[in-house]
């Protein structure tokens, strides 16, 4: 606006232009909202049609499920946020209304199973359990033809538990994924010990001192802390006590049956 209006004329002109701007703003906004409306209806119909053809795929096919969840995360939408039952007056997200809760029910049901497995093994592993072990236990109780469950599903199920208080979370120690169902965190020494135990299934004080160059006292305290949390079991029937990770109870080879 290089031309600088002066005096009353300027005053009028500016009022007119601001009116124009306002009206322009308005129709921009209305066209905006209408385009939003069309987009919303298109999305609704697409979702509806998608639900018809692929609703059950989500439940049965893990790779499809992973892709679906990944995309939702990509656009920052959480289909699991609200219950499917909440398709009430103004509750319930598009997803739950349209997909009829097949996504919700699958993940929440899995999360319930995870909570039950963690609860049952709390005594023997102190609330720290490998995702692989959780999957094995759930798969062993699954009825035939039930949905195939992957570790990725379990991690996603655990993440849905966030709003229920901070006790459930997932963590990686070394190359292994764990689910923690207790609020206490592991300190660096303790996770280093657990990581070392992943190799052979156990650690000894001298092994830690040799590999991690720790003084005996430090190795001993880290191990004792884990033992007192039931996160390590001790085998005293060997010359140097071996501290085993309880997760290995399931991984010791299958064939070694009988004496």
């Amino acid at each position: 606006m290089s031309r600088k209006g002066v005096g009353l004329a300027a005053f009028d002109r500016s009022r007119i232009t601001s009116a124009q701007y306002a009206s322009h703003g308005n129709n921009l906004r209305s066209s905006h909202s209408t385009s939003l409306a069309t987009q919303l209806s298109v999305f609704r119909s697409l979702l509806q049609q998608f639900a018809q053809t692929h609703g059950k795929d989500i439940r049965s096919n893990p790779s499809f499920r992973a892709e679906f969840a990944r995309m939702c995360a990509a656009i920052g939408v959480d289909p699991l946020a609200s219950s499917s039952g909440a398709s009430g007056k103004d509750g319930g997200s598009f997803w739950s209304q349209m997909l009829g809760g097949s996504v919700n029910d699958f993940y929440f049901e899995l999360a319930v199973k995870v909570v039950e497995v963690c609860g049952a093994t709390r005594e023997e592993n102190g609330g720290l359990i490998g995702v692989k072990e959780v999957r094995d236990r759930i798969m062993s109780t699954r009825i035939e033809g039930g949905a195939e469950i992957t570790e990725d599903d379990i991690l996603r199920a655990v993440n849905t538990l966030k709003p229920l208080g901070s006790s459930y979370s997932t963590l990686t120690v070394g190359n292994k994924l764990y689910i923690r169902s207790i609020p206490k965190e592991l300190n660096t020494d303790q996770s280093a010990v657990l990581e070392a135990a992943q190799l052979l299934g156990y650690v000894t004080v001298s092994m830690l001192m040799a590999n991690l160059h720790w003084p005996r006292a430090r190795a001993k305290t880290a191990i004792d802390d884990l033992v007192s949390e039931s996160m390590l079991w001790v085998d005293k029937q060997c010359d140097e006590w071996e501290y085993w990770n309880p997760g290995f109870m399931l991984e010791v080879e299958e064939d070694a049956n009988g004496r």
Partner: protein, 628 residues
């Protein structure tokens, strides 16, 4: 007054008779007697069940809650409200002197509300479900799509007479493009001329002999008009009812639908009465009030006044529909009747693609839908048994693309008008599209009725003595475990999401329910009775620990256990009080924090003892002697 007082459960909700099923809940409702308002009955929620209508007051539920037995109601009228006066339903009691059958017959006939369908009269008691057979080829009108020349059936509820620019048209099945209005009009009119006489677009309620008629004149692709943005409250309580799920019977083909469906799965008849305007809060712009046409007989000398229910926040139409369904079913008579068969929810949706495609006035052409639609059509024909996941991903791509656009638009929409000025949000509101991301993903964060009902339901689940969930958990249970237990009890269907569960739990305090949510220092959330306090817990712990002074141990102990007693682990505490180990740890650490306990770490794990190191910290321990 035929209002009776009712007793409430611990969750301040009407406690139901054994076979009574809750059909509908609606909050902020007021009661009128005759013309005048009933004092302190003006703000509560009304529960419609198969036997009664219960009113639970918000202010003082215990004192002024009331119920009306359906069997006392002679007839009921619907008043859709005008300008400021909110919609009401008037319940006229039976004249107590003579229950003339004649007047009853008149009344049941006399209320053909304007609603699209009135339930067929000759109802066999157990509504046997029509088998979902492959619908026969459409005999109704079809229009040819100008784009892909696919012959689409004219939606059965498309009435050429009242059709106008506003009537939503179903897009073409193949390419998803909205047809021009003229084309559909022409097709519909041409079909009307050559169709058999009783062809009024609205299926009149002629009594249908249920058995044997398989070739129902159904149009396969019946399109229900644009479902109200204000979708009816899914029978929220029904959905919450874990075992018997109240279903909603379709007035036209008596098919048992899932309460949350808007149009019947089988015949597509709209489950709630039609209302052309699709505005969000349609209480203001209402066509004409569907009042009863028949002038009701003035029976002289009715002593008890009629009761009016005034709905101040909508939901009256759904209430009216459900009440009508109830009154016809007269469930309270079939005391011993077998329960309504559960509709199988997963009824094959393969058979009919119920497009609920909506068209918008501007009919903007959507490229992506067209092509994807064509592709989908071809695949649909070829793919009957094996599932091609490949195209599923394609659909997923299309779906996600449009979702992405919405999110982008929603964000730009919010940012463009910055302070979302009231006027622009009003526009958005009017168009029923205040789409923030959470509406798309997380559902509305407003305190919906669903959450409050879930909250009450949860409180009941906890405190109901038969199940004794809270009692068995020792009076305190972690929120995660409760969530798992609650969903486990629902048998894996319609599960409650953690975030809704937590929202419901946070409402207990406001709803003055007997349970509380509590957060420990470590962040763990637990649920406990509202009367539970730390002091009581500490007293219980100390009482137990001091009792160990007199219990001789089974094996030799190295310390003077008469003086010091014994250390207890979280596991021992959990076993003694019935807590979970997690809860036991938290309570012990709380007691330690308050100075009542001290800890011993050893290879036996962590043990807690009475605090003999600093005895004057522990609350006035009754032992007079100072040990140290």
């Amino acid at each position: 007054m035929f209002l009776k007082s009712i007793d409430l459960t611990t969750a301040l909700r009407p406690s139901y008779l054994p076979d009574e099923v809750l059909l509908f809940v609606q909050d902020n409702v007021g009661l009128y007697e005759g013309k005048s308002k009933i004092p302190d009955h003006q703000n509560g929620s009304v529960y419609l069940t198969s036997h009664r209508i219960c009113y639970v007051d918000n202010a003082d539920p215990r004192k002024n809650s009331a119920a009306i037995d359906l069997k006392d109601i002679d007839r009921f009228e619907f008043y859709a409200g005008f300008l400021k006066s909110s919609p009401k339903i008037t319940l006229i009691p039976k004249p107590s002197k003579r229950s003339s059958v004649q007047s009853r017959a008149v009344s049941s006939l006399g209320s053909p509300s304007r609603s699209a369908t009135s339930s067929p009269l000759s109802r066999t008691d157990s509504p046997f479900r029509v088998p979902t057979t492959e619908p026969p080829p459409a005999s109704t009108a079809t229009w040819i799509c100008p784009i892909c020349s696919f012959s689409n059936p004219v939606p059965s509820n498309f009435d050429p007479a009242t059709a106008s620019a506003h009537t939503p048209l179903a897009p073409c099945l193949a390419c998803g493009i909205k047809p021009p209005l003229a084309l559909v009009l022409k097709a519909a009119i041409s079909s009307v001329t050559n169709r058999p006489p009783p062809s009024s677009s609205q299926f009149s309620g002629a009594p249908l002999p249920i058995r044997g008629r398989t070739d129902l004149p159904l149009s396969p692709s019946d399109t229900s008009t644009r479902p109200h943005s204000q979708s009816p409250i899914s029978n929220s309580n029904g959905a919450l009812q874990s075992n018997t799920r109240a279903s909603f019977q379709c007035p036209r083909c008596t098919f048992e639908n899932h309460p949350s469906l808007l149009s019947c799965e089988l015949c597509g008849a709209p489950l709630i009465s039609q209302d052309p305007s699709s505005g969000l809060d349609n209480s203001t712009l209402r066509a004409e009030s569907p009042g009863p046409t028949l002038s009701h007989l003035q029976l002289p000398g009715i002593e008890n006044e009629s009761i009016k229910l005034s709905f101040r926040a909508g939901g009256e139409k759904i209430f009216y529909e459900r009440l009508k369904g109830c009154m016809t079913q007269r469930k309270w008579l079939l005391q011993g009747a077998p329960p309504v068969p559960r509709p199988n929810r997963a009824s094959g949706t393969e058979s009919g693609i119920s497009w609920s495609g909506t068209s918008t006035p501007t009919g903007e052409r959507m490229k992506t839908v067209g092509i994807a639609g064509l592709e989908q059509r071809r695949l649909e024909v070829q793919k009957n048994n094996e599932i091609i996941i490949g195209n599923a991903f394609e659909d997923l791509e299309a779906l996600m693309a449009s979702a992405k656009e919405i999110v982008a638009l929603a964000e730009s929409f919010a940012s463009s008008n910055g302070n979302t000025s009231s006027e622009s949000s009003a526009v958005a509101n009017a168009l029923g599209l205040v789409t923030t991301k959470d509406m798309l993903g997380g559902g509305s964060n407003s305190e919906s009725l669903y959450i409050t009902e879930l909250s009450r339901n949860l409180a009941e689940f906890l405190t109901d003595d038969a199940r004794g969930v809270l009692r068995k958990a020792g009076g305190i249970i972690s929120l995660v475990d409760l969530w798992a237990m609650f969903n486990r009890a629902r048998g894996g269907v319609e599960l409650v999401s953690p975030s809704d569960f937590e929202k419901a739990a946070r409402l207990w305090e406001k709803l003055k329910l007997p349970v509380r949510l509590r957060q420990f220092k470590s962040g763990v959330l637990v649920v406990q009775g509202s009367d539970r306090t730390d002091e009581k817990t500490i007293k219980a712990l100390l009482a137990w620990l001091s009792s160990l002074h007199s219990v001789p141990p089974d094996k030799e102990l190295a310390w003077d256990w008469q003086t010091f007693g014994r250390g207890v682990t979280a596991h021992d505490t959990a076993e003694h009080f019935g807590w979970s180990i997690g809860v036991a740890e938290e309570e012990l650490e709380m007691a330690e924090d308050r100075g009542a306990l001290c800890r011993e770490e050893s290879d036996e794990g962590l043990k807690f003892w009475e605090n003999w190191i600093d005895p004057d910290q522990s609350p006035s321990s009754d032992q007079p002697y100072n040990v140290i």
